[in-house]
Amino acid sequence: MDSIGFGAAWLQYALGGITVGAIYALVAIGYNIIYNVTEIINFAQGEFVMLGGLFAVFFHETCGFPMLPAFLAAVAAVALTGLILERYVIRKARHATVLSMIIITIAFSILLKGGAMLVWGRDPYRLPAFSGSGSILWNGVAIQPQALWVLAVSGTIVACLTIFFQRSVYGKAMLACADNPAAARLVGIPVRTMIFLSFMLSAAIGAAAGVAITPITLMEYDRGALLGLKGFGAAVLGGLGQFFGALVAGLLLGLAESFCAGYVSSGYKDAVALVLLLLALFFKPEGLFGSKEAAGLKRF
């Protein structure tokens, strides 16, 4: 009792919150990339996370790949799914109304979920941790090495994206599409390619999150919806389109949930993220980090 006092519990909740929050942040970044380029909210974003985890299980356990190739293969497979979504569904519905677009991405997420259920069944799957199993006990706080991996993967992705968007031609072109597609086309940026790149990229990021989290949480076919919803909460809270905002908001949501479970009520844990989402939507729809003018320019 004494060795695990208030401080240790506090740290334990914080650690759990940051781990889950990092995943929410990655999902939120996935939303942002597609939104920035197309102004579409892809309701299937959460399913990419689920698919990433399950594909990694497939490549690692069934095909016997070592962990790193399995990770990359899973990310590639899900990126391909993103490509299919863009090429065969979104492009066909280019002129659809916002309402139809929402229904289309919901339908696609149902298809992904149903497909995953047929392929993998309803059982949860496990994946070994990237390095070492078990956990380190430090001052009464249990630290799973995999949690550090989750943070490392998230950190790497955020760093790479920042460099990509600020330094590379493609990244700058994608940002230009986001700012003004018509002008981007005029200066010779292939907007089509950018759109399809954005779908692949955001699917790949979702998948990476899925692979990283699976050793901690297991993965099964119907995890996607809730992850997607909370990721969207993070995206809105951080200001749609803002990468840094998404990161901060994701971590905030994760921490809020974890502390709610620890100190208030574990049953209402899931409601916390949603209530924050609603409050943000109702009172500050431009998010914590977005600017009001920028939000006013967007179609939605």
């Binding site: 916002v98 049953g267 109702f282």
Partner: protein, 324 residues
């Protein structure tokens, strides 16, 4: 309404009235009356939703939550406090209207994706509350032994009686909605759907009308929930989860958003598909659902009813031109 339009409606009404007697002699379809009771209950939800989606152009992924609030208010008032179900029903509707108004005023300022996510988030929150407030709702294990309905002292037991009761409600909702659509409000709604800014500039109180329709759709869903409660006499939160909200949207979209008949047809069609005709698909059902939704939105965005009307018109025109 012109007499020409009244004829098909009359035929339809007669068919609906005779339905239980038509299917009764055929053993393999005699239970279709039971299915139609549920279809009718769902129709109440989708009529409201079609007004909101097709005419006001606003999406709601929270209809299952309103359906659930109506159901639980009815169940709690009758089961715990011994109210008469007929008194609990309007009480549920009032609660639902109040909740819808509180959520609707800020939510309907949002558009498109934001609105979809806000209603979705609200729906999930309601679902969590139904699960967690065990003292009141029985939690995930559900509420049992909810009283059934009775009319003038005789309890409603037979499916046929329920069929007529539910479809009377549907008919009333249809009539009322039709009336709404052909009033000032209806014209204003369509204006909102076409071009909101223009409507606003013309002096249409856009925000207020949108909230009114939202509240109306919530009230219909609440009535449907009350009927469902007293029909099944058992509730669990899982009958009111996100999947149901999506199903309601699907019913409206498949039938056709722009017409009340579309909501009706889509609902009856999908209820039968889900409960009778797709049994063979079992695990594939989710996939089939997703595929139907995707195909309809991509290729028949106007929905089946309008699509069939157009096809018929084209055929007739082609026949005419050929016979000339």
């Amino acid at each position: 309404m012109s007499p020409r339009k009244l004829v098909p409606i009359g035929v339809f009404a007669a068919f609906m009235a005779a339905f239980p007697w038509i299917v009764a002699p055929f053993e393999s379809v005699s239970h279709y009356t039971d299915v139609m009771v549920f279809a009718g209950i769902f129709c109440l939800v989708t009529i409201g939703l079609s007004l909101l989606m097709g005419f006001a152009g606003q999406i709601s992924l929270a209809q299952a939550a309103f359906f659930g609030i109506g159901a639980y208010v009815s169940a709690i008032l009758t089961g715990r406090f011994g109210w008469n179900p007929w008194a609990a029903m309007p009480a549920g509707a009032v609660v639902c209207a109040a909740v819808a108004w509180i959520v609707g005023v800020p939510a309907l300022r949002l558009k498109g994706h934001y609105l979809a996510m806000a209603t979705l988030g609200f729906g999930v929150i309601v679902h969590i509350i139904l699960n967690e407030e065990v003292e009141w709702t029985g939690g995930p294990s559900g509420m049992v032994d909810i009283p059934g309905l009775s009319i003038a002292g005789t309890p409603l037991l037979s499916e046929t009686a329920w069929y007529y009761l539910v479809w009377t409600f549907v008919a009333a909702a249809l009539l009322f909605s039709y009336h709404v659509l052909h009033s000032r409000v209806g014209r204003a709604l369509r204006a909102i759907h076409e071009e909101e800014k223009a409507a606003e500039a013309m002096g249409v109180p856009v925000a207020s009308y949108k909230v009114q329709v939202f509240v109306y759709s919530a009230v219909l869903a609440s009535l449907a929930g009350s009927l469902y409660t007293h029909y099944v006499t058992f509730l669990t939160p899982s009958s009111f989860d996100l999947m149901w909200s999506i199903r309601f949207v699907l019913m409206v979209v498949v039938g056709g958003m722009q017409s009340l008949w579309g909501a009706l047809l889509g609902t009856v069609f999908l209820t039968f598909v889900g409960n009778e005709w797709l049994q063979v698909f079992a695990d594939f059902e989710v996939l089939v659902y997703g595929a139907i939704l995707l195909l309809v939105v991509l290729w028949v965005p106007q929905g089946l009813v309008v699509w069939m009307q157009e096809r018929l018109r084209l055929r007739r025109a082609a026949d005419l031109s050929r016979s000339e």
